[in-house]
Amino acid sequence: MSIDIVNILIFSGINIITVLGLNLITGVTGQLSLGHSAFFSIGAYTSALLMLMLGVPFGVALVLATLMAGLIGGLFGIPILRLRGDYLAIATLGFCEIVRVVILNLKVTIHGSEKLLSTSLGGIPGNTTLILVLSLVVLATLFMVALERSKFGLALRSIREDEVASQMMGIDIARHKILSFAIGSAFAGLGGALYASYMTVISPGDFGFMRSIEMLCMLVLGGMGSIVGVIAGTTVLTAIPELLRFAQEYRMIMYGIVLIFMMVFRPRGLFGSIRVNV
């Protein structure tokens, strides 16, 4: 088997939905998050466990996983979003580790037998199809385009530009930042739930901190704040490792070279037109 196009498309789609969420938080609102993969894993485990433990149908699990990630994102955002820039980045990184460790130590009962989540969790119903992923990508994209153009989206962009001025113009910045974080996290949760049902086996190792960095790279490559950029950057960085499979161990080096060239020649990304000072 040479190149599995369906595989690449599904992974790209899952990543696009997830990175659209990160774009809202970082590209639109200007809040640097290194914890996005935590919400991806919350979505994946919520959906997987709902289906395995309670026999919840896939569609319902998908919705609940999305809401769960959004809820936790919002709650977590309340204390943390008063931080700015690198302080916020470190705090989100800490959250990412907390989620990972919590999952590592969880014990669940599936069909009467106890199971530790530190080992891989298998037998997840494989309901994620290409059609489903692509339809959700279209919906997610339309939602984000509409959101960015709306009153709410303009307020988020003003927070990115100048938090103090935004507040002085009457914007409740705390509320807006928390909502942005919740919606962005919900998208990661949806991505995670789709991922779990595509892989059918997940383990905590799939959702480490490096995964957050990978998401950030996709966003930066495409261009922060640009929805077209998210789609392009994510597809390119999802496809490269697959397309370069023939190059074996050199492929991650080439991945790195792409990033370096991009930053030198197009620092605002493929389709980006704004600077984000986080």
Binding site: F143, A146, L147, S150, K151, F152, L154, A155, R157, S158, E161, D162, V164, A165, S166, Q167, M168, M169, G170, I171, D172, I173, I274, R275
Partner: protein
């Protein structure tokens, strides 16, 4: 308290550790006047603005806006009450367009449902159109309409200052706090600014509270002036009174033997 008092500071103090930035300051402002706050650098002028807008909370004393104590309000709520400001170093939303800067300032007056605002048809679209129209009126008033689709950062420095004032107006405020609006402007731009400020007072009936170092501007347009030095109010009065006040001359020039 007389009926047309819009802003009143009652024994307001602000301390940072041992430093008294603002110390026991009292004054009243009427709803139809241009009041200037002057004083040497570090006298506590911008701190006073930050107290009024809720950035800082007064260590003691009370600030009343239209007889409401501002103490329990957050900065964005104070803007909603009707106080808007500009900044010493321009703080526009640089990468947003000129029109978007104005629309943003109108945000708290827009009562549109979140979900309706997402849809490209129906009430959301209608509301957006009417807001754009209103925002354009503000820009036309400020002679900035031709720049509406440019990024704010691409305007000349003088135009950016004007846009900032226009944005403060667009919040619908009755009291504008202008923090050194003439800083960095050339004499002809400053003259233009004086016309704009007078115009806002006379035609839009706004109260204007001004921090400024340009004495020609201050003496030219102020109805009254408050002078701060080392956080304390050392004088208050009309431009004539202030010009001849020995304490003010001493604060600015030092006292020769």
């Amino acid at each position: 308290m007389s009926d047309n008092t819009i802003l009143e500071l009652q024994n307001v103090s602000l301390t940072f550790g041992g430093l008294k930035a603002v110390s026991d300051v009292n004054f009243k402002m009427k709803d139809n006047e241009i009041l200037s706050l002057i004083g040497p650098n570090g006298a506590g002028k911008t701190s006073t603005f930050n107290l009024i807008t809720g950035v800082y909370t007064a260590t003691s004393g009370a600030i009343l806006y239209k007889s409401k104590n501002l103490k329990k309000y957050k900065p964005h709520q104070i803007t909603n009450l009707g106080i808007a400001r500009t900044f010493q170093n321009i703080r526009l939303f640089k990468q947003l367009t000129v029109l978007e800067n104005i629309i943003l300032a109108m945000d708290h007056r827009r009562k549109i449902n979140f979900f309706a605002s997402l849809l490209p048809f129906g009430p959301g679209k209608k509301e957006m159109e009417s807001v754009r129209e209103q925002a354009l009126k503000y820009l036309e008033y400020a002679n900035l309409a031709e720049y509406k689709d440019q990024r704010a950062e691409n305007l000349s420095y003088g135009k950016q200052r004007e846009l900032e004032i226009c944005r403060a107006l667009a919040t619908g405020a009755d009291l504008l706090l202008l923090d050194e609006p003439a800083a960095g402007l050339n004499p002809s731009e400053t003259a233009g600014l004086m016309d704009i400020i007078r115009n806002i007072k006379n035609n839009l009936n706004k109260a204007i509270f001004l921090i400024e170092h340009d004495m020609k501007l201050v003496m030219g347009i102020s109805d009254r002036i408050v002078v701060l030095d080392y956080g304390q109010k050392i004088a208050e009065g009309t431009p004539e009174e202030i010009r001849n006040n020995p304490a003010v001359i001493k604060a600015y020039l030092g006292k020769g033997e």
